[in-house]
Amino acid sequence: MATSTSRTFQLPATEELRLEVRQGHTILIKLLDGTAEIFGTELYLGTPIELHGQKTAVYTWHGCKLELLASGSDLNEALESVYPAGETPMQEYVNVHSLLEQRRATAKEAGPVYSARSEGPRTLLVGPTDVGKSSLCKILCNYAVRMQWSPTMIDLDIGQGAITAPGSIGATPIEAPLDIEEGPPLEVPLIYYYGHVTPSVNPDLYRHLVECLAALLKRRHSMNLDAANSGLVINTMGWVTDLGLDLLYHTIKALQVDVILVLGDDKLYNTLHQHCRQSRNVTVFRLPKSGGVVVRDPTLRKTSRTNRVREYFYGPRNRLRPHSQTVSLRELSIYRIGGGPQAPSSALPIGMKAFSEPLRFLYVTDVDPVRQTVTYLAPCLGPVPGKYLLLGSLKVMMQ
């Protein structure tokens, strides 16, 4: 195939351009004319955006002209695939947005003093893995921001960790459109560490963390009316049967969810629908999954998990500099969360309170049993603010 450094695409209204950039490659995308958005984040005319080894889609409501540029020598080499598609669920998604807008407006009408009626929509996205939950989550947050709200993005997907490293759940206020290159804003995330990539290891801890988060959000909403009116967008993990379903029920109750969006799973829709019949104020909707969703096999999921850990320390564009440090084991107290699969559940509630505080991640690179030292990678310079370390079961190999 001949090499090329740029390609232009003319997209008609309500179509999208699906792109797959190869791992380790970078391309630039530039809007030449019209309007276009990537998962709800607008592209600015003439401003190129970098895309790194990722799958993405550029959507246009009114038609646009796009240019793809190679950052290296050859565009064709960097692109796994690129094709326009007309069949997208964007109409349905914007209808959901419309419903959420109505709820936010109603919440705002409740007045300038916080009350229960000031609570905006608390939206839960559920569905199996690889149906586009995270993409919809971004779209709904971005659309809200573009209507001058500031919703809170909640990530309960401990397997992938959209907000920060895997193994944790987190919340972050969204006050500007999400940065396509950098991901969710990491300035003010609130993170609770769970320590494993699947909730079955310690479901009680998972429940406890969700409850902690719920209590904190309640406090925040009573202090910040705008945040209360804007509501929550909650992303969940793809495990939707057995214990996974129980945990979903728990989340619905704990976070007082009132809008549930089920993506691409009819059975789950019916189950949740039945479950929520009793409570009058929960509405369940079913949405189609996007045809652009790529199914990730376990290897790819693992790679993407490792990448998330890497991004936590180095940043998505390798701009961050973590620091390696060595300390004596005597200066640290290391605890293991839940103690593994056989941990007696009765042991949990005692120490749990102390550990529920938000915390920081270290990547332990070496343990020297002779010198009694631990070498770790810390996200920033300076001593670790505390001497208690929690050990998770997450193991990744970063090169």
Binding site: T164, L190, R220
Partner: protein, 290 residues
Amino acid sequence: MTDLSQYKGFIEQYMVELKELTFNSKPIINNLTMLAEEHRNIAPSIAAAIEHHLSSCPPASKLPVLYLLDSIAKNVREPFVSAFARNLPEVFSQIWTALPQAHPQLLKLLNTWTGLFPGGTLAALRRSVGQPEAALRPSSAPAPGYQARPCKMIIQADSTLTVAKLVESSTALRAKHLDQWYLKQRRLKDAGAANQSQHWFVDENTWLRGTTTDAKAAPDFYEEDQEDEAEASEPVDDSQPNCGLSGEKFDIFWDDESEQWRYRDAKRLLGPEAVKYGVADGTLVKRSRQ
């Protein structure tokens, strides 16, 4: 037998959801249309449920429910068209009488039904609204609620208004968002690769306070420590190298700010404080750190 009770349960559930349709909500209409499509084998029962609800619901809900009927008829078509056709003139004329302010919308809707419902039904409909056939222009105007799109699971709701609002608002905010983005880009660039690092996560209270996206929201542990150090110290006094109470030797350090050597964690006891501890006025003692 089981099938029958299952259907009964479904219809009851459908009736519950119909009650939620109190305003022109596209998602609810979509959802109810999908449910109807999946249960097309019991179309007469669903149609009866909708008709019953139309006649009994409060006036404000009638129009949205009629849009649901329209949506089902246009998107699912048979067997719903036949099921609705039977009682439609009667239902429609009831609404016509109950909602005089909605006559323009109702007429618009009626105009989109040409070719959808059988001729007899249409004629009866037109009679019920007191309009001779000639008065109704063969309108090409789209239905107020929904455009028909054959055989798709979910209806293409009329989202133009929502999209228009979104575009309008984003255009107004674009300059602000673009500024934020540029500032961030510049900050990243200015800081250079070497100085950038991830901040520690904040604790709950800081998170609650810091809802603006301010990178400095994360506490700086270094500064805190140094402040403490300068506060809890006294200038070196060669006549008192040890603590007046415990006899411990003071740690000496250089303080940049006051440009002098100082005793770390030291405190000079004066007046009543000296009396309290039973030492001479002006004695230096070592403080315990909190």
